[in-house]
C-alpha cells in the first residue's frame, strides 16, 4: 500500500494536473464533458477512499449525499433564486450536518452492518425525495441556472470542466494534506482497531464521524457540480445503483490510496464508454451487458487484486518514496517527571468480576518513578485483566487506581493516555501502511493541537514539523532511526515491538505500560529490549511490565508482583520472589 502522501506531494501530481489543464485543447467538447463526469465521480470516490480504504468503513449510500448536495442547490436556485455560490456552502453544511447526524447513529455499527445500513438509507432517501412535491417528485427539477463568475457565463463543457477540475484539485490537495497530518495519522490508525487510536489519546468515534462527514461533504460538492453541469436533477442518479457504482469505482481503483479514486473513476467511465460504443454491434438484443461486464470486472479485481489497480500501477510505474527530511529534536516535555522513587501509580484493592468469575481479586501494589515493576503470573492469572484495568480498556468492579494521587479507574483509555500513561499491545498494533516515523509520530497525537480544518488547509506545518522531529527523536532514542522511512509492515517483529515503545514514548509518558513486550522475540532482540528498558528507567520513566517470560523479567525489574488466580501471591525484589516457596509451587514448579 502506498498512501504515503508527501511522497508525490510536489513532484507527482503536478505534471498530471498540467495535463488535465491542457486536455481541453486537444479534446472535443464531448470528451471534455466526459472528463468532467470522471472528475465529479472521483470526488465521490475520494470520499469513499477516506471511508473505506483509510478508515475501514463501507458505504453504499454516498449517492444519497451527492443527491443532497444537488437537490439543495437545485431547490434553492430555482425556488428561491439564490446564487449558486451561496448555495454551495449551504449544500456543504446541510449535507455535512445530516451526515454527522446519520454518522452519530450508524457509525457505532461494525463492518457489514454499516454497509447494509447505508443500502437502507440510500433506498429510503430515494423514495422520500421522489414523493416530496416541492422537490419536483420523480420528474425532477429543471431550469437550474448555470454558474457565472464576475459576469462570465460558465455554461458549456469547457468552462464547467475547469470549475470541476479546480474543485477536484482542491479536494485532492485537502485530503492529501489531511492524511499527512496529526489528525490524518489518527484516522489511518482507526481501521487497525479503536484501541490503538485510544492508546495515543485520539477519539476514534469522533474521528469516524469526522471522516464520514467529510466524505459526505465531498459527495455534496460533487452533487453541487453535477446539478450546475446537468442543470436538471431527479432522483434516479442518486439511487442505490449509483451508490453501488461509486463503491465499485473506489474498490477497482484501489481504496487504500487517494489516487485510486481517480483511477477507479477513469476506468469505470471509460469502460462504460467502450461498452456503449461496441453495444450497437449487439443491436436488437436486450440485455444489460454493461452491468454484467462491471460485475465480472469487479469479481476479478476482488479475487485477483483486492487492493485495486492503483497499487498495481505504482509497481509498474516504479514510484519511489523519497527519504523523509526530518532531524530528530525533542519537543519540550509537557509534564514534569516525579522524583525517583515517588509512587506514580497506586493500585488499591482492585477487583474485577466477569459474571461469577473473579479475574482480579483485591489486588494492591504501587509503581514508582524510575523503577521497573514486573507483573508476573502463569496464563490465566489475571495479568492482562489488570493491565486492561489500568489502561482503561476495562472498568474495575471495586477498588481504586490512582495516578499521581488522581483517581483514574473510571476514565476511558484516551483520557488515561492524556494523563501521561502510555501503553503497548500484546499483539503488536501498528499502522502497516505508515512509515516507522509516522507510526512513532502517531504517539505524539496529544502534543499537537491542529484540528481537521487546519490540517486540510495545510496550516499545521510548523506544528507538524515539531511532531515529526519529536517522533524522530524517539526513534533515535530506541534505536530505530535508521529504519525511519521503512513501512512498519516491513519491520521484523522485534523492531515492531520497539516501534510500539517509541510510539508510547512519544506520548511523553510518566508511566509506560508494556504488555508482554518480549513475547515472540529472539534472544538478541530480548537483550536489546532489556537494554532499552533499563535506559528508560535511568531516564526516570516508570515502567510496568506484564510478562510471563521469567528470565527476561528477573533480569531487569526492580520489583515483582506475582499473580495467581487473580490474587497477589508475592511481592518483592526479584531474588526474594524467586526464592518464595509459594511462587515456586504455583508458577515455577508448574513450568
Amino acid at each position: 500500500m502506498n498512501d504515503r502522501p508527501h511522497a508525490r506531494h510536489l513532484k507527482g501530481p503536478l505534471p498530471w494536473l498540467a495535463a488535465a489543464l491542457l486536455l481541453p485543447l486537444v479534446l472535443g467538447p464531448y470528451h471534455v464533458a466526459l472528463l468532467g463526469y470522471i472528475m465529479i465521480a472521483s470526488l465521490v470516490t475520494l470520499g469513499l477512499t477516506l471511508l473505506t480504504g483509510v478508515t475501514g468503513l463501507v458505504s453504499f449510500g454516498q449517492a444519497a449525499f451527492v443527491g443532497m448536495g444537488a437537490y439543495t442547490t437545485a431547490y434553492l436556485t430555482t425556488g428561491w433564486q439564490l446564487s449558486p455560490w451561496l448555495t454551495l456552502p449551504i449544500a456543504l453544511l446541510l449535507t455535512g450536518a445530516s451526515a454527522a447526524a446519520i454518522g452519530a447513529v450508524t457509525l457505532r455499527m461494525s463492518g457489514h452492518f454499516l454497509a447494509i445500513a447505508s443500502l437502507a438509507w440510500g433506498i429510503s432517501l430515494f423514495y422520500l425525495v421522489g414523493n416530496l412535491p416541492w422537490f419536483g417528485g420523480f420528474n425532477g427539477l429543471s431550469g437550474i441556472p448555470p454558474l457565472t463568475l464576475a459576469g462570465f457565463d460558465l455554461r458549456g463543457e469547457v468552462p464547467m470542466y475547469y470549475v470541476i477540475l479546480l474543485c477536484a484539485a482542491a479536494s485532492f490537495w485537502g485530503v492529501l494534506n489531511l492524511l499527512d497530518s496529526r489528525i490524518g495519522r489518527a484516522i489511518r490508525s482507526i481501521r487497525h482497531g479503536g484501541a490503538l487510536a485510544e492508546s495515543v489519546g485520539a477519539d476514534p468515534a469522533r474521528l469516524k464521524i469526522a471522516v464520514f462527514t467529510l466524505a459526505a461533504m465531498l459527495a455534496a460538492l460533487a452533487g453541487w457540480l453535477y446539478a450546475h453541469d446537468q442543470r436538471f436533477v431527479n432522483p434516479t442518479p442518486f439511487g442505490i445503483h449509483m451508490g453501488i457504482e461509486y463503491l465499485f469505482m473506489a474498490v477497482i481503483g484501489g481504496a487504500s490510496s487517494v489516487w485510486g479514486a481517480i483511477v477507479g473513476a477513469v476506468v469505470v467511465t471509460l469502460l462504460r464508454q467502450v461498452l456503449e460504443d461496441t453495444l450497437p454491434a449487439l443491436l436488437g438484443q436486450t440485455g444489460n451487458f454493461e452491468i454484467v461486464a462491471f460485475g465480472i470486472l469487479m469479481l476479478l479485481v476482488l479475487q485477483r487484486a483486492r487492493q485495486g489497480l492503483w497499487p498495481w500501477l505504482v509497481e509498474r510505474l516504479g514510484v519511489r518514496r523519497p527519504a523523509s527530511a526530518v532531524a530528530p529534536m525533542a519537543m519540550p516535555s509537557i509534564r514534569t517527571l516525579p522524583a525517583r522513587g515517588e509512587p506514580v501509580l497506586s493500585i488499591d484493592g482492585v477487583q474485577k468480576n466477569f459474571g461469577g468469575l473473579v479475574a482480579v481479586n483485591r489486588l494492591s501494589f504501587q509503581v514508582e518513578a524510575g523503577g521497573i515493576l514486573g507483573l508476573l503470573g502463569p496464563n490465566g492469572a489475571g495479568k492482562s485483566t489488570m493491565f486492561n484495568l489500568i489502561s482503561g480498556v476495562l472498568n474495575a468492579s471495586a477498588g481504586e487506581i490512582r495516578f499521581l494521587g488522581r483517581r483514574i479507574d473510571r476514565l476511558r483509555s484516551r483520557a488515561i493516555a492524556s494523563c501521561g500513561i502510555a501503553r503497548t499491545f500484546q499483539h503488536v498494533k501498528l499502522v502497516p501502511s505508515m512509515t516507522v516515523l509516522e507510526n512513532a509520530a502517531l504517539g505524539a497525537h496529544l502534543r499537537g493541537r491542529s484540528g481537521l480544518v487546519r490540517s486540510v488547509l495545510r496550516l499545521d506545518r510548523a506544528e507538524e514539523a515539531r511532531l515529526l522531529a519529536e517522533a524522530a527523536h524517539q526513534l533515535e532514542r530506541v534505536g530505530l532511526w535508521a529504519q525511519r522511512d521503512e513501512l512498519a509492515a516491513n519491520l521484523p517483529l522485534g523492531q515492531q515491538r520497539v516501534l510500539e515503545i517509541a510510539r508510547a514514548l512519544a506520548v511523553d509518558p510518566v508511566v509506560l505500560l508494556l504488555d508482554e513486550p518480549a513475547a515472540g522475540l529472539r534472544y538478541k532482540e530480548k537483550q536489546a529490549l532489556a537494554g532499552l528498558l533499563l535506559r528508560l528507567r535511568d531516564e526516570g520513566v516508570a515502567v510496568l511490565l506484564v510478562e510471563h517470560d521469567m528470565d527476561f523479567i528477573l533480569g531487569i525489574t526492580d520489583r515483582l508482583v506475582v499473580m495467581h488466580y487473580g490474587q497477589k501471591l508475592a511481592e518483592g525484589a526479584p531474588r526474594d520472589v524467586q526464592a518464595n516457596a509459594d511462587v515456586q509451587l504455583a508458577y515455577l514448579g508448574a513450568e
Binding site: 463501507v58 463492518g111 457489514h112 414523493n131 481501521r191 487497525h192 482497531g193
Partner: protein, 344 residues
Amino acid sequence: MDLSIFGFLVQDGLATGAVYVLLAVCLVMVFTVTRIVLVPQGEFVSFAALTLAGFEQRQRPGLAWILLIAGGIAFAMELYGAWRRRTRRGLAVAAFSFLALPAALSAAALAGNALPWAAQVLLTCAMVTTLGPILYRVAFQPMAMASPLYLLIAAIALHFVLVGSGLYLFGPEGVRTAAILDGSTEILAMPVAFQTLMIVAASLALNLVLFAFFGFTLLGKALRATAVNRRGAQLVGISPDYAGQVTFALAAAIGALSGILIGPVTTIYYDSGFILGLKGFVGAIIGGLAAYPAAALGALAVGLLEAFSSFWASAYKEVIVFTLIVPILLWRSYAHLTVDDDHE
C-alpha cells in the same frame, strides 16, 4: 380500519413475510457458514419462477445457458487449480457437478419437449440448485478468506452479473406461473387462499427441516462447525470449499422452492430478486445474521410492516421498511459489539 381489513392485512403480511422468512433463513445460513451476505439469494427465487414460466410457455429457458457457461468456467477453474497443485483429486466430482449435471439438465430443458407439470417443477428446482455451488465456486471460493466486507461487495457484483444476464435471457416483462392450488378456505371467518396457506406451510416446514438438518445430521453439524471456526473445521477434515458449495446448493434449492411457491400469486421480473432479497435481509439482520428463529420472526415482522404501511402510506412503504432497519441495526450493534472484525 375495520376488523376484516385488519385481518386481510395480517394475512397478506404473513404470506409476504413467509417468503421473506425463507430468504432470511437462507441468508443467515449462508452467512454463518461462509460469512457471505448473499445478495443474489433473491435471484434464485426470480430465476426459478421465470424458468418455470418458460417451461409452461414451451420456451427454452435461458437459465440453461447460464448453467452451461458458469459450469464451464467453474470446471476450468478446478482444472487450473488441479494443474497448479499437481493433483487430480476432486476433479471427478467437479466434472460431475460443474459439467455433467449442468449439461444433462440443460439438455433436458432445451429439448423443448412438453413436460408434465411435476417434471417442470423438478427440473426447475434441479437447475437452480445446481447453479448454487457453481456460483460459489466461480465467485466466492477464490476469495473465501477475505473479510465479510469484500465478500459483500463480491456478492453485489455477482448480483449485477445475474440481473444483467437475466434481462437478456428472460426479457423485461414479468411472468406469473400457473396456480398450483386454486380456491380458498375459511379461517376465523375469513377467506384464505390455498396458495397462501401453502406458502406459509412450506415456510414453516422448511424451517423445521433446516432446524433438524443443522441440529441432528452429521453434515449439518459439520457446516455449523465451519461456521464457528473455519480453520478448525479444516483440521478435522471438513473442507471450507465443500461446506460453501453445499450451503450454496441448499440456499439455491430453498430459493427455487420459494420462487415456485410465489410464482402463481405475484408477477416476477428478472430484477425482482434484489428487493426481495433486501427485505429478507432486513429480517435476517433482526436476527443479527446469526440466529434462525429471530431472523424468521424478523422477516415476518417485515412482511406485516409492509402490508400495513402499504395500506396507510403506500408511497412511503419502502421508506418505512428501510428506515426501520436503522434502529434495529443500532440495537444490534449495541447488543453485541464486534468492533474489530472488519479489516484484513
